[in-house]
Symmetry: D2
Subunit: 252 residues, 4 copies
Amino acid sequence: MHILISNDDGVYAPGLAALASALGQDAQSICVVAPDRNRSGASNSLTLDRPLEAYAHESGFISINGTPTDCVHLGVSGLFSDERRPDLVVSGINAGANLGDDVLYSGTVAAAMEGRNCRLPPIAVSLCSFHPQHFDTAAEIVRVLVSKLESLVVAPRTVLNVNVPDLPLERIRGIHVTRLGHRFAGEPPVKVLDPRGRTRYWIAGTGDAADAEPGTDFYAVEQGFVSVTPLQIDMSHYSGMESLALWLEELN
Amino acid sequence: MHILISNDDGVYAPGLAALASALGQDAQSICVVAPDRNRSGASNSLTLDRPLEAYAHESGFISINGTPTDCVHLGVSGLFSDERRPDLVVSGINAGANLGDDVLYSGTVAAAMEGRNCRLPPIAVSLCSFHPQHFDTAAEIVRVLVSKLESLVVAPRTVLNVNVPDLPLERIRGIHVTRLGHRFAGEPPVKVLDPRGRTRYWIAGTGDAADAEPGTDFYAVEQGFVSVTPLQIDMSHYSGMESLALWLEELN
Amino acid sequence: MHILISNDDGVYAPGLAALASALGQDAQSICVVAPDRNRSGASNSLTLDRPLEAYAHESGFISINGTPTDCVHLGVSGLFSDERRPDLVVSGINAGANLGDDVLYSGTVAAAMEGRNCRLPPIAVSLCSFHPQHFDTAAEIVRVLVSKLESLVVAPRTVLNVNVPDLPLERIRGIHVTRLGHRFAGEPPVKVLDPRGRTRYWIAGTGDAADAEPGTDFYAVEQGFVSVTPLQIDMSHYSGMESLALWLEELN
Amino acid sequence: MHILISNDDGVYAPGLAALASALGQDAQSICVVAPDRNRSGASNSLTLDRPLEAYAHESGFISINGTPTDCVHLGVSGLFSDERRPDLVVSGINAGANLGDDVLYSGTVAAAMEGRNCRLPPIAVSLCSFHPQHFDTAAEIVRVLVSKLESLVVAPRTVLNVNVPDLPLERIRGIHVTRLGHRFAGEPPVKVLDPRGRTRYWIAGTGDAADAEPGTDFYAVEQGFVSVTPLQIDMSHYSGMESLALWLEELN
């Protein structure tokens, strides 16, 4: 199995190194292509207005002066591994949770999504803590998931969003399949003055969990379980199509 | 009705002016908050690492040195309209289609999504052409949709993704409710040399439609119909949860 | 005379329009190439790591997604005026003074410097006020300077740095040739907290005048005179070379 | 002696590590504050529109998401070394020459300039090669210069611009005090097409030496000598002031 690894915390992030080290144990080959600096919050943004530069580090990791999506977009073309396309994309280990609505903004999840046309379903991995300690726990869990991945049957273009509690491995209580919860709207933007007295607006953090009931990713992690949420790329709201059609009939 | 208008083509884009002009006819108030320059491909990216600057133009439009999502995030807080929160967010009119997988990368759709907690379902509007001519057609269609929007019943956090053929209004054949089609993987990145002889990688365009069957957004637009696709923010792949759970049982 | 006009406040700045309008009266042709947004403080920075985009506005002005130096670098090649190279570069009218040490950081002065290989000595024009009112005063003064410029004899690669008091034209007391004064080190950087509690450092304003004696640019402007300072591109400190050589003898 | 070290090639550049290692031998303390990525060509640009982030690496080096000038501006305030202001700023070792007109655009020289108010004259060091090999040569030379610096008498606000041939130390022929030569205008910008067929303009390299006579920095380096050019911050063209005043008399 050939694995492409990326993240959104940047090429020097400890979570990336931990992931590469764990997946390198079993894989036929790994190739790491990551942003040259922290690009948290980048979502699926693509860089179209300039060409990108690839820099090969001594570690063998490649950094790109672009977004997580850029990195995987270039990496799945096999540009950096002798024209060999990866079988699988794994993104992470993010320093912080990607739960509920976070998924919309997350560069970690976006990097995984960009691997949706590979042979195996891509995986995004996040460690749920503001000050993450146990990257090794998340690394070991994703290593095990990957080792079994050939036998997983899912619809094409499904992404696995994995969130791991920041605990020693032996304290992890198991793995739960979850749906996304969702968050309250976050704190309002903060007005700040620059040193020359002009008003600026700083976007504040995300909100707390608004829907963290049993079955959600929030709940699983809070209970000490690893959360695995299958995500579909297709956002069509099928069940809402009929009422919309009725409404539109009046307009046609 | 108080409407917040944004886009991803930037504050000087003709599609934005056309949209503001059309919606200004009926609304109690409109407020335009858009990026200071073209941010196509920005997806849902949020700017967290710096505060943002708002600039009020003579036109009354406000530009932000950030992403489409930033603009709507600030705008829905009512920062720029005497602390009044909008009832509705409308984003566009994008110069170019947002069909199928485009939705993942689109700043236009992302701006609309960021209005998901407003009272009325947000709308993203795109004009389907590489060299768009008929912004007035799209503007009139969205004006009519908005005028009826109070009577639409949809699930919370649904977004309407509207794509309009680039035709005179009288040649539009009607409005179809659609699902997202999807695109082939795009052209591979292009290797270019900079003037100093170093290799760079330029991400190429999106692919052609891979799934453009009847019922898709691609098909509707190609046939001369306006496409309206209801999008859900929640990407949980509910129908895939069971098989995933079975697979995980072995691991637990 | 063919004149290339640029600035660092960006293509939509009122000072740029005032300058173009004034110089357009007498010149054989003008060509305006300016940054797409405010690039104050850009100094002579050049963009080498990506190609630049030129956008032709309805006004005939061209904007570049780069620095002031980029704009003039492209403009003096004649790229945007049918391959005709300009005889002269004029940069401004900057909204704010460029006095003393400001010259090091100024994008306005840098844009002028980039025209140093044209036939006539480039001119940088700034209006000295935090809330500039009288762009027309500065515009008229630079128009007159330019109309006489053919008869000025200066060393090659000399730049004229012009600072105009923000007064009605009839209250301007005359024009003085000046040397650069210099400023005290500015206020120290300001520590701010971002909304997530992390420390950030915001560079504060420039310092007050430390050397504003008669003969300096600071003094002239304060007294109601236009200041014209000839700048040389060559920063070699000729008079300091001998003592340096003596010191180095011990090391050789 | 407390030394602040910076560069424009970024915090991971080998020239920075070589410089820090050499100067760390003799100094009472060193503090390294450098851009988080390559900022070649940044000149004296200052970041005013956003606050800056400082990141402390395991090596003890601090990176800033800004320009070389930003780094030194923050560093000379003593922010990163227990409020202790440095006695001296040394910038480099740049991977590539900074000769003649390069000085205008160089971030390496700009970083040194920003230390002009420290007790000792700042030093910019560059290794003259497209593929630099002998950082240790340049590091040793700057170490020796710094060790004698207390005895150097120069005018306030003088910067030493040091260029070192890319040779083993034993093949360096000595040190010459030089003036700046200058370069021909560089190659014209290169027109390129992006993958979507739009024209873009890529700024090409700097020109060859136009003035490389004996006495210039170009000449010294070509002959195998280290070049040390004293630079003055004050660009006032004193000898040109009289003829300018005569010319202006007609206008007054």
